[in-house]
Symmetry: C2
Subunit: 204 residues, 2 copies
DNA sequence: GTAATTTTCGAATTGACAGTCGGAAAGTAG
DNA sequence: CTACTTTCCGACTGTCAATTCGAAAATTAC
């Protein structure tokens, strides 16, 4: 028989292992991150990790899944606030920017690790569900915004890739640069959307 | 005694190995790329690779070095044509875009592999010389362009990161999207620079 | 208490892979 | 043809790291 407390403690230990894995990832990268390193960082023996997770891969997949789930939930709550495609799109980017500036290491992991986890069967990429939903929403907002002349009239897929890249560049490329501020973020969004007629809400 | 022909044949075999390594990299990623795989792809026995290269690392470093050298040379030749910071900057991006569309796999490697080759001592990162020169030129052009009001008045380092990211997004993010056309490239450059006063040359 | 269950982990085991070795094959010179 | 150089490679070695094993320690139930 397992009590509620036991379940909670179990869950806390899982979280402790996940946090240790994240720190090792930051220090060593995903390929160099070893189970020995994670075990030491989390304060368990190596074999104990296998009591809580199936494999090294499962640890990183779980980090991705829960992270993208969080992102998706925040996107969902933004969509509940009425607005034009453009204001909603900008609100999502600003919310993301805000989250990233709070915890750059974790979001760096969320955005970069998927490209480094090669050769996973699709059904194991459990974070993809939420990731795709978010990109789907963004693409939809862009398409609506283009239809309503709020955005430049270009292929929405390319526009999404461009904006995604720009975002990625601002936050993750370049090793030691200063963090981006809210003001700069607004400046870039303004600039990006400068061709259209509707003014953006850039006050925080 | 070695004849000229022998030297040329040796060089061709080196190239064949490099090309094989590139194909394996595309298929498996840099960490999963094994010497056995490269040997098979290039049509040699594994031990023969070590007759031509010191190590696996040297193979990939050499691919990067020669690739960035080519890029740098094309940038240099663009700089010899007189123009404003803005036209030169745009010309460099267009030239890069053109190269990338000719050989996406190779340029994907040139832009992505450096972030995956971790823990190399600085002196072994032989491609950095040309890479830094190119970014230095771009940053300089942005700074001059900002001073001359050809670009929006923001921190040049952030602008470079943003543009670099945008570029990266257009060409490398998103898995199976269609290739970007010259027209779309022009459209994006126009849009990017829309805040300023000077019209761009977008005819090819 | 002590039997049952849960949690822990050091010590093997296993598989993958970079790099080496010793010699064979192929090519060249005279 | 023979001596010499260049090129090639299958089999082996050593290392590193994921995963498993078997049992000990800690906790819980009665």
């Amino acid at each position: 028989m397992v009590t509620q407390r036991q379940l909670e403690e179990r869950e806390m230990r899982r979280q402790r292992i996940l946090q240790g894995a994240l720190r090792v990832y930051q220090r060593d990268g995903i390929e160099k991150a070893t189970m020995d390193g994670i075990a030491k960082e989390a304060g368990f023996g190596k074999a104990t990790l296998y009591y809580y997770f199936e494999s090294k891969e499962e640890i990183f997949v779980e980090l991705l899944r829960s992270g993208w789930e969080q992102i998706w939930e925040s996107v969902e709550s933004i969509l509940e606030v009425p607005g034009t495609p453009r204001t909603q799109f900008a609100a999502i980017l600003k919310s993301l920017a805000h989250r990233i500036s709070r915890d750059p290491a974790f979001y760096g992991f969320l955005f970069q690790a998927p490209t480094q986890l090669t050769g996973l069967p699709a059904e194991r990429q459990t974070w993809r569900k939420h990731q795709n939903r978010m990109y789907g929403v963004l693409r939809g907002l862009l398409e609506d915004g283009i239809a309503q002349e709020e955005f430049p009239r270009v292929d929405s897929e390319l526009l999404l890739r461009a904006i995604g890249g720009l975002f990625h560049g601002l936050f993750f490329l370049g090793t030691g640069g200063q963090d981006i501020t809210d003001e700069n973020m607004d400046l870039f969004l303004d600039n990006l959307f400068s061709g259209s007629s509707v003014a953006m809400e850039t006050e925080s």
